[in-house]
Symmetry: C2
Subunit: 355 residues, 2 copies
Amino acid sequence: RSLSTTARKTLKIGLIPADGIGREVIPAAKAAIEALGSDIPKPEFIDLLAGWETFTKTGNALPHETVDILRDECDCALFGSVSSPSKKVVGYSSPIVALRKELDLYANIRPVLSVAPEVGQKPTIDLVVVRENTECLYIKQEVQTVGENGKEARATRLITERASRRIGQMAFELALARPRKHLTIIHKSNVLSITDGLFRETVRGVPTLPGVNGKYDTVTISEQLVDSAVYRLFREPEVFDVMVAPNLYGDILSDAAAALVGSLGLVPSINAGDDFVMGEPVHGSAPDIAGKGIANPIASIRSAALMLRHLGYTKGADRLDVAVDQVIREGTTLTPDLHGTSSTTEVLNAVLKKL
Amino acid sequence: RSLSTTARKTLKIGLIPADGIGREVIPAAKAAIEALGSDIPKPEFIDLLAGWETFTKTGNALPHETVDILRDECDCALFGSVSSPSKKVVGYSSPIVALRKELDLYANIRPVLSVAPEVGQKPTIDLVVVRENTECLYIKQEVQTVGENGKEARATRLITERASRRIGQMAFELALARPRKHLTIIHKSNVLSITDGLFRETVRGVPTLPGVNGKYDTVTISEQLVDSAVYRLFREPEVFDVMVAPNLYGDILSDAAAALVGSLGLVPSINAGDDFVMGEPVHGSAPDIAGKGIANPIASIRSAALMLRHLGYTKGADRLDVAVDQVIREGTTLTPDLHGTSSTTEVLNAVLKKL
Ligand SMILES: CC(C)[C@H](C(=O)O)[C@@H](O)C(=O)O
Ligand SMILES: CC(C)[C@H](C(=O)O)[C@@H](O)C(=O)O
């Protein structure tokens, strides 16, 4: 399969709600996609299992079948959220981390955007976190030994030139397509001079790669240590446009940025590879509100929009985003995370009405 | 030497301004300590070298002499801030990271506290980040190899039971001494089940260690994944009291918390071990404003207060803090980071006048 849109009659979308509020917000995103009619190829949904509950039932948090069907039959997918056990459980391993790896979804793209109070006004927060999605501490190579002073545990943090280069290229492309064309490289090379040094140098080297031919000359580049990046995100978020970061820093930065726009329930993402894309709300499974029907479906609907845009269905994607913008701007139908009193279904219906 | 205050006639304080604004704020802290008169033993200051400029001159960012004098002659120390090279430089290694290790200053204690608008009112932000200070990715075991797809770099993240236990004990002690007595354990054990799993279980196990005998029964415990901890810090900072974290998460969290109180220029820390304590402002060397005489000396003066309190000189420490609180509350003599127009010296003089 390829990401090209030309020959597609139907759009096969894997749905992996997984745990907690994932089961409430993914169906909402499905309904929003279904409402797009002829702006996208006829969607066909395939329900797939993964997550903590799947683990408790089958002993496997990510059944092989799920991966096979995504790989062989689906054009794209939507993932909900996973709960994690409150204690270490032998054999359990996060299915979202595994999926990113299995499908080589090497870029986690997380736009964080506030909605301007008036149509046509500039949003106050408008940045994208581009997170490397396959390595860093997420390779999960960990060992525990027993030494003189008790247990000792070690994890390996892997940074490769190849992964840094492709995430760097993705980040430069994104920066080039944005009005401000500014890229900030996030690292901690004052401590991790070799691993983060490699990340930084490799990303910096993207504009001089063979074949690039001055394409990125209009992109300005700066750097920021991860600790001060979090600080600046809160003090002067307007300095950031595109931020590119190794996996763990990207995880933390995108949550930090989400806090700026009022709720994690607003922030979407895609996990993108060269031939597959999977939308995923940035929020977690929220066990405290799961099952109550009050989870904010906006992050998932926006993740569907991002996924469709990535596949080339700009019109459908724009319609979803404009509808969501209108609902937020009106402010009368919002879930409790945005200080509203509406349910997931009410917010979904408000969005559907605007489509 | 011991931390006991009984026999001390003089207080030998190593001063390591290091780079950038460190050279402006450490002298200010020195002047504030000198003004305490008989509330502390007669201070004797010993100027010591470290930092990037020291490296460029001597090839060593942390001369052996500095470590030896701190260890053999000083009761405590104040460290400024270090600049880091903008490219990887062979042989350079952060002197603050090395000092923490050499002197086994295993706890980095970073109280983040806003100043209440009126005397006697409760501050809105009042939390302490207790950061493990000797291991995690800060052990700097990094290697680079060349594989099929280019360079590959690996770093080792070390978490030991011993270090987790002693930082856990420190955190429980601090929580016990605070009105709310609440401890939040920060980790990412949904990904790092072995290393962060060990940290989490070990800290959780502190109340049941032999000899503890129910001492911490009044401390309530919760946990938070590092990404959502940063998010919650910005959305509802009041949920946190004492946060205990492995080294890198603690680094990021303390910058995040600093953003809440208006400026990194306000946030102090101590690096504490069983027989040495070193005050250190949380801010960096700020090359953009270095040499202009406008750096905020408050973080360093408060670091001196923390250091004195840790040594048992509560009265001197309180006097410094009360004077700083008054200057902030008046709001007429503040540096530009707090939207004022005053210089480092003017702020220092305002503090000295209140002592
Ligand atoms: C659930 C967890 C493994 C995941 C991550 O750390 O990547 C989540 O925080 C995210 O940001 O998607
Ligand atoms: C300068 C740097 C090595 C240091 C750290 O990461 O510990 C700094 O950010 C700090 O917080 O003291």
